[in-house]
Symmetry: D3
Subunit: 136 residues, 6 copies
């Protein structure tokens, strides 16, 4: 049997999809209204899943309050109510698609967690669109 625990968090942020190597026309063509110059934003939902074994003493795979603290410190404190194109140092130069963000969040979280524990990062941009990064 495999055991996994998940913590769900929320943040709101602004962004604009944009490739600086593209012409304005190309950006509009590829990214549509997501590329509007003054940006828009979303209520993002972030789900972080850990896989591991349960500590027989506590009955926890991982303390979810501690996981929440790690998510806040590594990610939410830096992206919540921020503009993802401009305000976040470790996102600079990256086009903030949901894929790019989920991958960046994985990279932020993994070194903060015991090796091999992080199993999945799910980032939900809207009720209709989301991305999963999972361990291979």
């Amino acid at each position: 049997m495999r055991m996994l625990v998940t913590r769900r968090e929320h943040f709101s942020a602004g962004h604009r999809l944009y490739n600086p190597g593209y012409s304005d026309e190309r950006n509009a063509e590829v990214f549509g209204k997501c590329s509007n110059p003054s940006g828009h934003g979303h209520n993002y939902v972030l789900e972080v899943t850990l896989e591991g074994s349960v500590d027989p003493e506590t009955g926890f795979l991982f303390d979810l309050k501690e996981l929440s603290g790690i998510i806040h410190k590594s990610i939410l404190d830096e992206v919540d109510h921020r503009n993802l194109n401009e305000d976040v140092e470790w996102l600079r130069g990256r086009n903030p698609t949901t894929e790019t963000l989920a991958q960046a969040f994985w990279e932020r979280l993994e070194p903060q967690l015991p090796a091999g524990l992080l199993s999945r990062v799910r980032l939900i941009e809207t009720d209709k669109n989301w991305v999963d990064c999972t361990r291979d």
Copy 2:
């Protein structure tokens, strides 16, 4: 018996809470992280309620497809994937709080609908915060 029909729509937009008559410190104090200079955004949910009588021929109080068309044309086409501080002419000079937006949406919708039909505009900014404008 009173009859009401409601249509729910969605849009995503960017905004920043900001009073130009305030100092930067005062803006930060009053609006907190909602006032971060480069803005953020939300997945807004907009619910429009009409009150009236049911047409015995159609069984409709109002055709909700038509209502959806009116909401799109008056509001969503102009605010979806836009920056509410900068991109929308009829919001210019207004601080885009949920209250202000709901009121502005009411003002946009009412002239498009038969007199007295509009009963409530609900604007949901996040799962934790929303505003209702209702007919007195």
Copy 3:
């Protein structure tokens, strides 16, 4: 202070919007895809709200298990997994719009409840469309 209690129930049913006094073209024009001849269906959500005073002995305005029983007996047992155009005697000859159904459900529920207690019937057809019948 006014007190209200609400019970939410679910059912799934088939229907077709259709006025037998209309031509096929007129039905298609007014009801669109909702008028497709072989019908479609929905997962309906039904919310029933009672307004009254709280019994100091029980702390209940009304026993919600009893209310659920009344809703099942008067409505759900007859409409769940049924075709609303064909299977339900007390809907026969009525075009099963959300408005018509909500009103019919009100008429079914009211005589089963103490006088004046029924305050609102909300019928949700989809996440985007719903109807309220409320006491005047």
Copy 4:
């Protein structure tokens, strides 16, 4: 036009429905499984609605962060992860039905808010059952 703002909060608590003036049989009969002696619990959702006018300077009817603080201090800090029959002084001797709790929460909140502002307290016990206390 009337303006209302709502804040939604969450807490988890244990309770048991029980009237000490009833026999065990009568408690079981009236309250069913909700009266099981060692108690059970819920993830409650609490929605607080204020009605008033919008401050033209801030665009706020009321600062929802401040409202959240008041809800936490008056209610959540005392009931979250608590047993509602035993741990909360201002609920002692009251049978913790959803009706009783909603009314007690109204009484806790009102003196903390400007006169006349509190419009509704909604307490959701489960997805199927909730109670509203509204201003007359």
Copy 5:
């Protein structure tokens, strides 16, 4: 790291569970109220997941607007507001259980997508029941 993107869509349809090789009694026994002769229906939710690598130029694994277009053209345009037993050529002769529908949707989608990209089709019939088809 594996990357997956998901798109969620909605449709409403009618159906009846029924095996023509069974007697009426056997159909009623196996399929219960889902076999009522004049049918019922659901608000279905369809989630389509693709797995692949992210294009470094766009930051997209796949353009979700394009995926939505493919889902509409291959599936939704044919099933939305239709009767799944009667109206859809490529479902004819199949008993429209959630399992059968999910499999049929997979078969419709796969040839429209780059080889190997389709990872999962989830079809949600109600909040209580759903089916996943996943790549082996």
Copy 6:
């Protein structure tokens, strides 16, 4: 192609996190407010997923009404509106964390189902926290 079906059920229960081998201080430190002595509770959501092949005669992987019956009999009838520390024989002596409960539910369900069919048990404690037990 792999096929999976899922059934979602709900129950409400009380619990307290507590290791009898810990001092009171250690319990408070490890389990925080979840360890409050008189307990609290949750509206739990339980999702049970089966993986297998579809019966060509019925179009079912497994009859979800039958699965629901098994879940009720093995689990819900014993935990719903109960205290998980005190009332359930097969949980006695186990600290009722979400991990422990999910594992115990797996152990209850598996012998009731055809060999190899049970694929996942998901137990959702709140909208923010859940646990998956999956077949290796």
